[in-house]
Amino acid sequence: MALLEGKDLSKLFGALAAVDQVDFQIEAGEVLGLIGPNGAGKTTLVNLVTGVYPLTRGELYFEGRRIDGLKPAVIARMGIARTFQIVKPFPGMTVRENVVVGALFGKGGAQRNIKTAFEEADRWIEFVHLQDYRNASVDRINISFRKRMDLAKALAMGPTLLMLDEVMAGLNTKDIEEMMALVRRINRELKITLLVIEHVMKAVMGLCQRIIVLHHGRKIADATPQEIVQDERVIEAYLGERYAKARQRSA
């Protein structure tokens, strides 16, 4: 049984189908990539899974249970966490307090009191190497640190499934390497299943065992990284019809 399964998922905004009849599964323990040109529907798909948008059509299952129609907070407590494409920190709080919110209200949160929640938060702050900035106010730290804080907050929620939305965006080469190492640790040491939305190809190729490609809301490919880069439809989607045809002619 797949950890997360979506059947015939569709989301319409008026007449626009942001997500169009998508079927997909994520197996426990894997790192699944989700790529596609801008506007393809990747973030919308994540929003559907986390309950931010209601489905127009289709069904969603997590650990075998139906989750479409549930509130975001319920889904979060079931063990699904995410980071945001444009980081959404809590600006009025310090780094430590931001992460503690995840610890307090995520999957294991109900059992924790403030003290143990802070201990949990500290643990994750160390994991992402942010301990020097524990008490810094979030509006004072740069984007790389904010992304790591977002990650720590999501981890503090104790998720089974973690969805990263363009977590590499805006990072320089060194930061990307570090972030990739973190993501690998999350998957291998913590045994957390990952969905990675990315435009940074190095990260996608280096981290994912399998990749799904969306274009105009539809799934156009679902294969290993090596197969994906050869796939005609993917190339066409990213680089345009003319390039794809030119490539075919020269092949």
Partner: protein, 320 residues
Amino acid sequence: MKNKKQLLIAVLIGLGFVILPLLIEGYWIRVISSIFMYGVVTGALNIIAGFAGYAAFGNVVFFGIGAYSTAMLMLRVGFPWWGGCVIGAILAAFFAVVVGFPVLRLRGHYFAIATLGINRAVEQIALDWGSFTGGGKGITLPLPQMEIQSFYAMIYFILFGLLLVTLLTNFAIARGRLGYALRAIRDDEDAAEASGIFAPSCKVIAWAISAFITGLTGGVFAYWFSFIEPATVFDIMIAVKAFVMMMLGGAGTVMGPVLGAFLLELISETVWGQFLTIHMLILGTIVIGVVIFIPRGMLHLFRQRFSLSALIRNIKNQSI
């Protein structure tokens, strides 16, 4: 409350207030009682507006509900004043829950206006339902059975006690789960929900607590003045003053709102006493000044190194 020294100062000040009635005369006892009352109302407002970020401009509606419940229970049913106050507070909290679920779904300005509308609607009902509430003529409560100076002293201590309760409530909320949930909601409600926070319930709970305390205060007010009418206990000015006091002291902090209440009410009372004809002018100017120069509150100002040039630079940066 960061260290022992601050705690000691606070306890000393508290003791000072306890002894004060012995040293001062009746007029000042009433003035300080009024200051305590605003401290409570502002502290209660802080829970929904400061922590959760929902600007309940109409929060005074709970004051009125508490006042009217206490008045009617004392007059018609013969309840003791404290019984009336508690029931009034419970009714106010209940009202907050019933109205809160739909209305707290609104954000920003819309929520603020909705609460103003709610206050207005309840005030009008109190005015128009004369047979039940006495309408525009108001309600006269049974007079207290004790010597007047002792009565005022008793009110002083009741309100002081309420103030301590409000401070403790704010403190407990700030340090606990609810506080973190509310602040997360205030900062980014969507991210808060994605973290597992049930925003609707948290907001309603916060508003209910705020309503309970405000309702209690309204009841005490009714008992204190022995006469209430819709225009006084649903007065928007109470809510606006509370808001400005909260801002002046620092919204979302524990001590800030109460400090702001003390300062502004003290100024207000002095001005009202000396400059009756221009007291609105002065109050208005103070409000404008606070908004422009101290928008994040005095507490915030004290925590940073304060300099005039930094202040002016700040204002220049934020101007259009």
